[in-house]
């Protein structure tokens, strides 16, 4: 320890230093190192399981049937050259984006209305609570009948998947705003509009973020199943152009098992990317909650 570190420093100085400290950089590296190790162990077990097939005379569950990592990688290497594979990505992403944006832009104002208007809440909430437990996938057949195109029916089911979560989070977030904050704002002369705009709105942002993060995860669950059930929507039946969910289903029908795993991993990556994007947006939207 050098003498400079013994000098009295305020916690603000420390906070400023923290970013550049070598210890901190090492900690970050350590985290990546652990992530690499965890992937390596995962792949190792997978490889051993698929080549060995059995352990002490018993077949290893799941893995003994699965294609090996090498086979999956080879299949993937083939697929990335095919536009149809990327078309699947594009289709699923568009569906998720459309359904999710619709859910956010309807769900957030809807939740706020329930939160601030007792009349609206009284009229709407009972029906909402009755519809909420119905799983989005239960809507697939009805949705295909109601909506003019398959594409719209898939979008609608995705919308439902995210919508309920977003609304519930907004309502809960608004209810959790400290009553004293409202009293303080009223004392200082805040009008109703001021209290809504400067208190309720920023007060529910963290809950909105939680709702959006959870919601986008659900949209990926829903899109895959909806594509499988509906036969791939607009681009359906022909090859792998019906979205990632349909891609998996199609690979199963076609019997190309490595492609199934490629599809699964692709969805994992897509879901991770969307959640990471939401988390990033959330941390930008709530600077007061950032790690310090």
């Amino acid at each position: 320890m050098n003498s400079e570190q013994i000098l009295p420093v305020s916690h603000r100085d420390l906070a400023a230093r923290r970013g550049a400290s070598p210890w901190r950089m090492l900690a970050r590296f350590r985290r990546y190192r652990r992530a690499c190790m965890s992937f390596a162990i995962f792949l190792g077990i997978w490889q051993l399981g698929t080549t060995g097939k059995s352990w002490l005379g018993h077949p290893i569950p799941i893995l003994c049937q699965a294609p090996s990592p090498g086979a999956v990688l080879a299949a993937w290497g083939q697929l990335v050259l095919e536009p149809a594979y990327w078309q699947s990505w594009y289709l699923s992403f568009t569906r998720v984006a459309l359904g999710f944006l619709a859910a956010a832009s309807v769900g957030i104002p809807f939740g706020l209305m329930i939160a601030i208007s007792p009349l609206f809440r009284g009229m709407i909430f009972p029906v909402f609570e009755l519809l909420r437990p119905i799983p989005p996938l239960a809507w697939v057949p009805a949705s295909i009948i109601f909506w003019p195109t398959q594409e719209l029916s898939i979008d609608f089911v995705i919308f439902l998947g995210a919508f309920y979560t977003i609304v519930i989070n907004v309502v809960g977030g608004a209810a959790n705003i400290d009553a004293r904050l409202i009293q303080a704002a009223r004392s200082m002369g805040g009008s109703r509009w001021n209290i809504f705009r400067r208190l309720v709105l920023p007060g529910v942002i963290p809950s909105i973020c939680v709702g959006l993060e959870t919601g986008i995860g659900i949209t990926w669950e829903v899109v895959v199943a909806a594509e499988m059930i509906s036969g791939g929507g607009a681009g359906g039946s022909g090859g792998a152009s019906g979205g990632l969910g349909f891609f998996i289903w199609n690979s199963y029908i076609g019997g190309s098992y490595p492609d199934i795993v490629v599809g699964m991993i692709s969805i994992g990556i897509a879901g991770y990317l969307s959640s990471a994007a939401m988390r990033f947006a959330a941390s930008k939207a709530t600077p007061w909650l950032r790690e310090r």
Partner: protein, 280 residues
């Protein structure tokens, strides 16, 4: 002393025969019973009582958060609530500083302080922030303008909140056990900071606490309340001259005053304990 500091002599508060009954499901609970109290302009009046004795009910009535069932409250001769108007209007002339603080977590400290004049449209955003910066500097809070309340210590937060209250140019400050959650060492620093603010502004202070020593150290007068229903049991003038600093705490006179009032406070605390009152 207070007259010289508060030349406008603003903030004289008169509570006259205040009665408040809580009536949840028909169980009539008398929270405040014919409570009368006059606080002259520029006084630091300390209200001491055990938890749940009804002190906060009284403060809520002054602030306008709750109504009164009987009696009246006047501020500088103007009726806040009374016959025909059970609930006072909430206004920036009476700002409350709460026990756990009520800074807006999503606003920086500076924007918290600037909030009042801005929403009242008394000042533009830029002018409000300028004034906020200046008041924060006077209170020794320079350097914390752009932090969020969650980034600073709870002691600092409470000081920011008092500055935010002063921004509104209130007639009276209503403090509801603001230092309760702080540790003893931080508390003593906060007490001196509050007194320093008082010596600068001469503002009338209505301060609720359950801490007798805090009350005697800060107040011109200490009002010890009875427990359920709440009404003044003992009113004591603290004849220790202002300005005071922490050395007062070890002075002979301070100890004498604590001794003189301890028994009364203890008696009410026992009553409150027997009633099984919740803290807070």
């Amino acid at each position: 002393m207070s007259a010289a500091l508060n030349p406008a002599r603003r903030g004289a508060l008169t509570i006259d025969n205040a009665v408040k009954i809580y009536d949840p499901e028909g169980a009539r609970v008398l929270a405040v019973d014919h409570c009368s109290l006059h606080i002259p302009a520029g006084e630091i009046c300390m209200i001491v009582g055990p938890s749940g004795c009804g002190k906060t009910t009284l403060l809520n009535a002054i602030a306008g958060f709750h109504d009164l069932d009987e009696g009246s409250i006047h501020l500088d001769g103007r009726m806040l609530c009374g016959p025909g108007r059970p609930k006072a209007e909430v206004g920036p002339d009476r700002i409350v500083v709460f026990q756990n603080g009520a800074l807006f977590p999503w606003k920086t400290n500076l924007d918290n302080v600037a909030f009042g004049p801005m929403v009242q449209k008394r000042l533009s955003r830029a002018a409000a922030r300028d004034k906020a910066r200046q008041l924060m500097a006077e209170a020794g809070l320079s350097g914390y303008e752009n932090s969020y309340p969650g980034e600073i210590s709870s002691g600092l937060r409470r000081r920011v909140e008092i500055v935010r209250a002063l921004m509104n140019d209130p007639t009276i400050l209503l403090l509801d056990e603001p230092y309760r959650a702080l540790d003893a060492l931080t508390k003593s620093v906060m007490h001196e900071a509050l007194l320093e603010t008082y010596y600068r502004t001469g503002i009338t202070i209505f301060f609720i606490t359950h801490d007798l020593e805090e009350a005697i150290f800060l107040g011109h007068r200490v009002v010890i309340m009875t427990s359920r229903p709440c009404r003044p049991k003992l009113i004591m003038d603290v004849d220790i001259p202002h300005p005071r600093d922490y050395t007062v705490l070890t002075s002979k006179r301070f100890r004498e005053l604590v001794h003189a009032t301890e028994a009364a406070v203890h008696e009410e605390a026992l009553k409150s304990f027997a009633l099984g009152e919740k803290e807070g």
